[in-house]
């Protein structure tokens, strides 16, 4: 079956544009607040939502997402809350994945996690610290529950590794635009376009670019060569900087709207 995520990429492609993918951690500013924010981002034009599973040791994340997940964890966000968040967002008709470091999934039980994710209406998992070589149990569970395993490729990935990774992905391929952690940057790495080109040589899956995108102009630049534009830290920063949940919602809605115009102006 075609996942909701795959369908969203197909719809964007039919509209001759890149898809917009927004990331938010569950539990920020609260479990319900994160659900509202995710729905607001989708209403403002994001095609797909990534719900981050807050983790104590986020070693691929820059300061903004570190601070966000720290607040979510100290606020008492648990794995069950993350699954509830997915249920609410997916239940609003929004294609939804979880982005998670691996240990929480392993401790929950890979099969159990996959079943509960599927039950919640989630489409799959993005796993920044798990590569296909170590993903045997997850790939089996993803096949059983018809979920999308999404792995990352990086500018340093060899062509051989790109082949290995893309053959394990379903839904889309996550291309890290640069060598570094998450966080908004002045410009998106020039390596991104070359990486997307190299990935396309191995797969017909959509290729979405993440890391560093912070505004509509950058979203348009990336949309010119990628099938999807992923924005995390810039959205999260709006929530962190807001002095009230209402202001946070207004902030992410405004940015998502700008980004949505960006992906529509890219080609």
């Amino acid at each position: 079956m075609v996942s909701a995520v795959s369908a969203a990429f197909e719809k964007a492609a039919a509209e001759q544009r890149a898809a917009l993918i927004g990331y938010l951690p569950a539990g920020l500013p609260s479990v319900d607040g994160a659900i509202e924010a995710a729905i607001a981002i989708a209403e403002a034009g994001a095609d797909i939502i990534e719900i981050g599973l807050p983790y104590s040791d986020p070693l691929m994340d820059g300061p903004v997402i570190q601070e966000a997940v720290h607040r979510a964890l100290t606020g008492g966000t648990h794995v069950a809350d993350v699954l509830d968040t997915v249920r609410a967002v997916a239940g609003a008709g929004i294609p939804t994945l979880i982005m998670t470091y691996w240990n929480p999934v392993e401790q929950h039980g890979v099969g159990t996690f996959a079943r509960e994710l599927a039950d919640a209406g989630g489409s799959g998992l993005i796993t920044p610290d798990l590569t296909p070589e170590e993903a045997g149990p997850w790939l089996a569970a993803a096949a059983s529950y018809d979920l999308d395993p999404v792995f990352l490729v990086a500018p340093s990935s060899s062509d051989e590794r790109i082949g290995l990774i893309t053959s394990a992905c379903r839904g889309f391929v996550y291309a890290a635009s640069l060598m570094g952690t998450t966080g908004a940057r002045e410009s998106v790495g020039s390596e991104a376009e070359g990486l997307v080109r190299r990935v396309r040589a191995h797969t017909s899956l959509p290729v979405a670019v993440g890391l560093g995108v912070r505004d509509g102009k950058q979203a348009a630049a990336v949309a010119a060569f990628a099938d999807g534009v992923i924005v995390g830290s810039a959205l999260v920063q709006r929530l962190l900087a807001a002095d009230s949940p209402t202001a946070g919602l207004a902030g992410v809605r405004e940015l998502a709207s700008e980004l949505a115009s960006g992906v529509r102006a890219g080609r």
Partner: protein, 433 residues
Amino acid sequence: MTAGAAVPDAAGYFGSYGGRLAPEALMSALAELTAAYAEARADPAFQAELAALLTGYAGRPTLLTEVPRFAAQAGGCRVFLKREDMAHTGSHKINNVLGQALLTKRLGKRRVIAETGAGQHGVATATAAALLGLDCVVYMGEEDTRRQALNVARMKMLGAEVVPVTTGSRTLKDAMNEAFRNWVSTVEYTHYCIGSVGGPHPFPMMVRDFQRVIGVEAREQIMQAAGRLPDAVVACVGGGSNAIGIFHAFIPDADVALLGCEAGGDGRETGRNAATLTFGSAGVLHGMRTYILQDADGQTLQTHSISAGLDYPGVGPEHAWLKETGRASYRPVSDSEAMHAFSVLCRTEGIIPAIESSHALAGALQLGRELGPGGVLLVNLSGRGDKDVDIAGRWFGHLGNGSPAQDLPSLTDSPSTGGGTAGTGGGTAGAAW
């Protein structure tokens, strides 16, 4: 897999522990490092260069010292200390960093980064970087940079930059997270010099190989000195590099027991400990599958030990495998038991040990009494206690307001068990290998 099998396998697994659970961005560097290390290991020129540094610079072989007055407190068996405290920079850490610094040059990289808690590995890395002309940046929890200000100064004198880490719990694990984050963006010209037998493959294997010299020397020395193999080899375990270093040459000697002493902190009940193999469970942290201290959601728990170098919520995967196969055993040693052993060694032998190593000494006091006269124990004295004078001085009341947090033990006293929260000495969590 049996204890005699070649480990790790090609994917870096010791049984079901180890592996390479790391971001894709690092995979190319890890593969490059694995290949370069395999070449270096087989290259006589590399081995000769390292051996020359170990003897001419680090002071190897280190001594084996019999300690009869200490042994009298340990059931009357014979106790031998492997004197890693006598190595340059004051601990076994130098063995590993010299190897990795040489490898950094071989990789054509010009910069090393390291994580540290109390600063021993940071100082060793800064030392090797100064010696070999490499740029050096050390990540250290902000709390530890204040508490271990002298080691921060040492690193700076040696030309290193010290970056205080202000994220998460501001301890060793967060310093390691920050080092990984930097490595991802600088990997083209930077080598991450991990300080213990943890991290993604090939680090647990490579660091073990660089530390293996401890046990190789000690095995020869004790055969000379005692005329036989020891009944047991005892070492402290945080990440586990000094323990693997002294254990490894004895693994094939089935009659030699291997005992790792973990940081029991205030005990199990309080949750204030770092006894990963005793109280933890299998999970993934810092690129490896191993035992970790975690909650039901897989979130890493806060740890505590009076010993900065043992205060880490994970452990090297080879130790997890040695535990699982039964080849080694591990037991927790509380803060107060360790400080008792610290004091006993100071006053019976005139050797001030590191508080880390004092956990092994406490294990030896226990094991010696279990073995009785006629037993032979080999204990890895992994580091010297100069860095711990402030903490120990406060614990025993030699520093501070003059009221001892703990009474000086009489030499025949058993240590008090658990609950040793010294008002000033007990709060030294956070830190490093």
